[in-house]
Point group: C2
Chain length 308, copies 2
């Protein structure tokens, strides 16, 4: 694999030769000097090239660059406090264009969500969007560490089933050779069978499918479900305690790995909650919601509007 | 959560009171003494109760036990070298029956695979079957450690798609409200879009679906796919190197965590391969297979029979 330096590692490196790979975030093609803002999966850095007085092949190459083009950059790292972008600069020695982008980008920061989803892979290059996937990876890793340290076994339960796993209402049906199959709405059956099988404690992170036509963020036809099942508990208190520990583990890990970036990009301080969390009996929750003027149907669960 | 000791931890504990939860693997209900072999998710241990001369409620309770029943056991741990099962014994003080099993078990060790799959949750209680899930958990954890240490991001790509991800031949089609959707045969599109989105290196472990009617172990309609995608490589050599590192990481972890149990249950020594693995060019592989009398169609990939 070609040696490649990541932008996030440059600050700790000494001045000297580096090789970077990433895409052109911005180009400022001036008469005397050219600037490329280069972004890779870890951050962005300024690349500079003082344009020679005479005809120059490298300067011409830089001029052809379009936003979003993927390039290899060979240069010399220089720490310089005057540079706004992290106090670092790459002085360009050589440039290799991997792929030149179309000069017109179909989306901008103020493009509507629908159109941004049409160009999802471009939208994801925005640091705010990209960070979502990094945070998700961190959360999942924190949960898995918790589970593995606490003796859980991982399962991958079937998604094609011969019958419904929950109600028939939300079922996706598909042609399965001569017959039909259904998509799992939940790993519930398999989780419980894993307990009977003597695994004791299991977890699964995987897709489930619900043929529910509602258009709220609570009702997606497909979502990634985080499931666990625990044998030998005394009561729901045990489950609530594990849930609290999982939440604290996840938020602690996010704060540690991404706290600064979340602050910078979203101006949000990540706060790790302390345990035990406040617990509000359903009857009290109903009273609170009623006091704020919302009608709750007597005896049932809280409705979505009330939960908000 | 009720305090509970796992069988695997008993050997390191001092003699004294313990609480165990698990199922009855075997009962020997003798005139003078009763033996229960109790198994939990971590191993099995012998529980003994010297039957008193007079009527005794606890002895009667033990007598009602059937194989597979889930029980809580309160007793005193005694290290005793004469006990075959790990040199440990639990002297019974109290017994709580969580669930009493039907006395007849529908499967035995020599039952056919079809019938065992009909009673999968019972079959999985066999240590050989149960171990499969522990090993799978260990392998997946080893891969994830490798990926996270090497800057990979995890994705969960959609399984419901509007069109085929590979050929149309192996496609499952399902009714999706007014229209149709298809089950993903591979996360290929999404992996590649994640590269374009600038994630750089990603992995995904999740189900994929192939409507392939073949009945070989190479063709399942649903399987758990282990996927990764890496940007900025020079050649297939980079991918082969990563694959080798993943294999070594997985097998090392399995040897460390389960090597002894695999030896005991299957009489197999887990051997960690050394890198680099031998690499055989396709042309040479074809020659080797031909020399053994197998016809290979010229110019194509190796056929499944030849690979064997």
């Amino acid at each position: 694999m070609r040696e490649r330096h990541l932008v996030k590692d440059l600050a700790a490196m000494k001045d000297g030769p580096v090789v970077l790979g990433g895409w052109v975030e911005k180009l400022r093609d001036q008469k005397r000097i050219q600037f490329i803002i280069l972004r890779d999966e870890s951050g962005d850095v300024q690349v500079t090239y003082p344009r020679p007085a005479d005809e120059d092949a490298l300067a011409d190459k830089v001029s052809t660059l379009t936003n979003g083009s993927f390039i290899w950059v060979k240069g010399r790292l220089v720490h310089d406090e005057r540079v706004k972008l992290g106090g670092l600069e790459i002085q360009l020695d050589d440039l290799e264009i991997v792929t030149l982008s179309e000069p017109e980008t179909p989306i901008a920061d103020d493009t509507s969500i629908d159109k941004r989803l049409d160009w999802r892979f471009l939208d994801m290059r925005r640091p705010e969007m990209n960070l979502v996937f990094k945070v998700q990876t961190t959360i999942e890793a924190a949960w898995r560490s918790y589970w593995l340290e606490n003796g859980f076994t991982e399962i991958h339960s079937p998604k094609l089933m011969a019958s419904a796993s929950e109600s028939n209402a939300e079922l996706f049906k598909l042609e399965y050779f001569e017959g039909f199959a259904y998509l799992a709405q939940s790993p519930q059956f398999y989780k419980q069978m894993a307990m009977m099988a003597g695994l004791g404690r299991i977890f699964e992170i995987g897709p489930v499918f619900r043929a529910d036509p509602s258009f709220t963020s609570r009702h997606a036809t497909e979502f990634t479900s985080v499931d666990m099942e625990v044998s030998w508990i005394d009561s729901h208190e045990d489950v609530m305690n594990i849930q609290e520990e999982l939440m604290v583990a996840a938020i602690s890990a996010v704060k540690e790995s991404h706290g600064e970036e979340i602050k910078r990009l979203f101006d949000i301080d990540v706060i790790v909650p302390s345990r035990p969390f406040p617990r509000i009996p359903l009857a009290d929750a109903v009273d609170i919601v009623k006091a704020r003027g919302h009608e709750v149907v007597r005896g049932g669960d809280m409705d979505p509007e009330g939960e908000r």
